[in-house]
Point group: D2
Chain length 341, copies 4
Amino acid sequence: MINVGIVGFGYWGPNVARNFNTTPGARVVAVSDADDRSLARAAQSYPGVRMMKDCRELLTAPDIDVVAIVTPVSSHFEIAQMALSNGKHIFIEKPFTASTSQAEQLIELAERKKLKIMVDHTFLFTGAVKKIKELIDDGTLGDLYYFDSIRVNLGLFQKDVNVVWDLAPHDLSIMDHLLRMEPSAVMATGVAHFQNQLEDVAYITIYFPGNVIAHLNVNWLSPVKIRTTLIGGQKKMLVWNDLVSDEKIRVYDKGVEGLDCLNTDSKEKSYGLRLSYRSGDMWAPRVNQVEALQGETSYFIDCINNNITPKNDGNAGLRVVRMLEAIKKSLTKGGALVRLN
Amino acid sequence: MINVGIVGFGYWGPNVARNFNTTPGARVVAVSDADDRSLARAAQSYPGVRMMKDCRELLTAPDIDVVAIVTPVSSHFEIAQMALSNGKHIFIEKPFTASTSQAEQLIELAERKKLKIMVDHTFLFTGAVKKIKELIDDGTLGDLYYFDSIRVNLGLFQKDVNVVWDLAPHDLSIMDHLLRMEPSAVMATGVAHFQNQLEDVAYITIYFPGNVIAHLNVNWLSPVKIRTTLIGGQKKMLVWNDLVSDEKIRVYDKGVEGLDCLNTDSKEKSYGLRLSYRSGDMWAPRVNQVEALQGETSYFIDCINNNITPKNDGNAGLRVVRMLEAIKKSLTKGGALVRLN
Amino acid sequence: MINVGIVGFGYWGPNVARNFNTTPGARVVAVSDADDRSLARAAQSYPGVRMMKDCRELLTAPDIDVVAIVTPVSSHFEIAQMALSNGKHIFIEKPFTASTSQAEQLIELAERKKLKIMVDHTFLFTGAVKKIKELIDDGTLGDLYYFDSIRVNLGLFQKDVNVVWDLAPHDLSIMDHLLRMEPSAVMATGVAHFQNQLEDVAYITIYFPGNVIAHLNVNWLSPVKIRTTLIGGQKKMLVWNDLVSDEKIRVYDKGVEGLDCLNTDSKEKSYGLRLSYRSGDMWAPRVNQVEALQGETSYFIDCINNNITPKNDGNAGLRVVRMLEAIKKSLTKGGALVRLN
Amino acid sequence: MINVGIVGFGYWGPNVARNFNTTPGARVVAVSDADDRSLARAAQSYPGVRMMKDCRELLTAPDIDVVAIVTPVSSHFEIAQMALSNGKHIFIEKPFTASTSQAEQLIELAERKKLKIMVDHTFLFTGAVKKIKELIDDGTLGDLYYFDSIRVNLGLFQKDVNVVWDLAPHDLSIMDHLLRMEPSAVMATGVAHFQNQLEDVAYITIYFPGNVIAHLNVNWLSPVKIRTTLIGGQKKMLVWNDLVSDEKIRVYDKGVEGLDCLNTDSKEKSYGLRLSYRSGDMWAPRVNQVEALQGETSYFIDCINNNITPKNDGNAGLRVVRMLEAIKKSLTKGGALVRLN
């Protein structure tokens, strides 16, 4: 039995607690939160579980195997470092850390102590992302052309992070997982409309080798909620609309043919325009409607028990933080191109 | 009666001809096209009208008052210059010219000759754009925050222009008309996936004074056709979906309140976060379903007869070309910020 | 404090229990269910509450004021009768009873004992139905022409009731509440496709005085889930789509004018066809997104404390059962017209 | 070359004329219309074609091979009879005739004179209906359970026919073509809300052998236009939405299994409820976007030239009229079941 301690019982903490508690082979044994009301709510939901106002008590408790860190990003590093130092595996909210150097230190520490880090990239465990991953990996889409995501809605404004740090980690972690490519450069534009000077509208372009391009449109000032991703491939293209209950993914047998793609090694170059369009059936594969977080907590327990490196490990978290840092830099420099690596 | 000559009877020319011909006070008297088949089609549709293979014959014909130039942009300047020099008003396809200097020369020439230029920014004459213009001008939306447009579909690839010159003129002319603001800078990213080296996916950010931002997403490789524009204002926000037949425009009584907008002159700065969200009714105003081009040709005849400067005159065309040029420059420089003025 | 006992802790019972328990002035003190596993689940959720296998123990417990009956319709009468006989108010699932005579007996018994009956017509407490009720009652829609509802999806087949008794009570209770008219006749057609001989597809027409017509389309064999109701009025018409999260209700400023409606008392009859169509704006009023059941249980406690007759009392339940009985009769007689009253 | 004469140049006539005129092997040589303005419009569109105010001139002209009758149904019989008597093939609007006896007489006359009748069931020539026909005929859907169609919109009210004769012929001809089954009985309910006493809302149920049921919902008082048909089969189910430009047909791999269907000859009857639901992918086959009427006129010329009996011949027209007559009878008798054959 793996004993889990939850640090932070605010908005998302209760979900993490509930899912660890219902994962076979795991149980929640302690919860900490500096806020009395949050702690009281936790006490009500988990009568037999220890409640601690100071997270240090939890981080040093000898019976705890896993610490789930569900606090604002600014506190991640300190808490995670103490947890790892005390020999605990960590499950940590996204974004992983506030900087790449913090992420690197935590990864190094975990490796040294032979502990697991799992960054809570929940979307990787949804039926939709799993299905898209399948369609990319088995070659259904063919070579990829672009990844274009729109994630807009009205608020909620965060006190200390802009719309990029709030919304883009979702897209960045999904994109990183699906494309498995190292981005070469990032560019971001955006504007803050209110006195807090935090961008509420931002547009991000990410360049990859081989003319693959990604674009994220994140916006806290949209009257309508949109969660739509277009992925264009040489063979097929898909649209993922996460807001519909059925047919979230539509795969289109559409494409452009007859002109070699720039990113292929075609020796024989032809200069005439000989493009032809293919327009065939649409197909909406059945998507499993499991609770993503349940799949994720079960997977983490499995990774610990069987010494597996999670796909959403510290390195995945680091890759997302690296892009966030580059985006921040580009925004600060008025949209300058920021090269990665 | 105003006599109209049509130069170019390819894809769009027949529509221009038909609409001028059914405009009271105007009639088509000549058509020219270098392509024999196009000319044959014109002859079939307009039995009594003169057909000319060489447009110079048309441009110098003494009985012609208006020349409608419906040819590729590369030929615009030469044809327009000859038409104006010969004392003809011109109605010209968008984009107006291939460069700002060409546009400026034509404007200067027209002014000197006291002739009208109308650039075919057809969308300005749709019921939807007219209604949105009304909602902005009468203060319904309040101060604007952003203009965000998506115009994507599968092809058709153009032989000699990229996706920006093909699709963005629509959005740029609409944006210019609705916002009536001078952009301060432009940034564009994009990628070409085929051997013709023309961008097929591009993302454009346009900065305006007062923290107003515009963004255009244009893509020739999308499996689905999308024509959606979000416009966010301080009082209300709207979504314009041009692909639905009813309820193209939805106005949302949604917004963020309680924190002064950055672009207002609030002396008293408060640093706490005191935002509140407003979420009320949605309203889809009835949009008139007239043929836009008919409204436009009638308006042009009216402008000529009553010596009115068209809202879509050469200067409007120039403003669009100036943005296109800046976008091109930014794309060429790998997304660098290009300042305007 | 009003003490509530829950009879039946299957699919819906837990929701009823939870909502009564969180209603100020009420608390759940006992749960009964003949099924051991259901009872065990209840015990886990409500540690301090009495669990009873035999509902008779609950129905006769002296400290219980309200009995919530959340069992199959076949058992409603017996349980409700015992509850009322023992002086308990009852909250009872829909359909109220298996026959009108049962309903009448329970109503009579409750009146004699000065007890309240509330039939769980949950939809009446949704933001959508409340808003539609407002639009009808304040004259926004004008005189009604028709009520047309589609409620279709794949399964779930019930063991002992057909699609009408499963799905139509929702529409019948909503229609009864909104129209407040006595139906004059009912006709129903339908077919059973499987060996259980229970109709899985059915179409119901209900006639009201004044040429008002209602139609229900219920179907367990539909590949897509549809929950759409059209309501046509002389002044405005509306569409209610219960499956969308925003803009559930759309009110259309559309109509037919210039010819007197048949159901008005126009003395001066004109026989020529002088209809004109009006087509104006669409408007989606903001709909409150409260949990309907919470509103309903609070309302019931309020009705008991302040001796108010619930709008969804036994008579409302009886009216629905009377229509269900007539529909059954019509189905049995191959779609014959069955007059009511 | 087959010479075609058009009788009636009102709303639909110009489309019929244009399509016959562009069909290889056919040409329009005469148009008749009693209305001067209609005839003037025809003259303008077809400069070289004979215009006749009196259709009898056209019906007796020796050079005409085919008469296209595009007039109100009340005049169909007389015109068609004269055309056939004069040795002309006829292409005739739907509904074929005002009564079954008229239809039978025309069929008999055509057979005797060895002439073709084609009833303009245009929908049979759409890409959507052709694709659905394919999916039924090749067994993709399996045995059919039901056909459920909704065809509602605002007006236009007809002077002399009710909503059934205006809208239902579309559905009846499509249903007849797709199901190829003889209906056993019909039931219809409906209401007239205006002084002309013509039903503007109607609901029609059609019974077929083997527990197949069809239902049509036709309404002239709907604020929104809906053209949706659900077809349920044992293996797959489909939804056809004719108002979307892409993905008109969605085929769902959904169904109910494990219980024998009533209409199969299963000897071994099981009485327990052992239903299981299947829920798989959705698939939207590519639908050809040809102009249906063009396909139909070409097919008619082909039928004449190669002596083929059209699928939409007089008998198809008769089957639709027979159902319309039965529906009328049922409506008149207050929704009584009307048996066919």
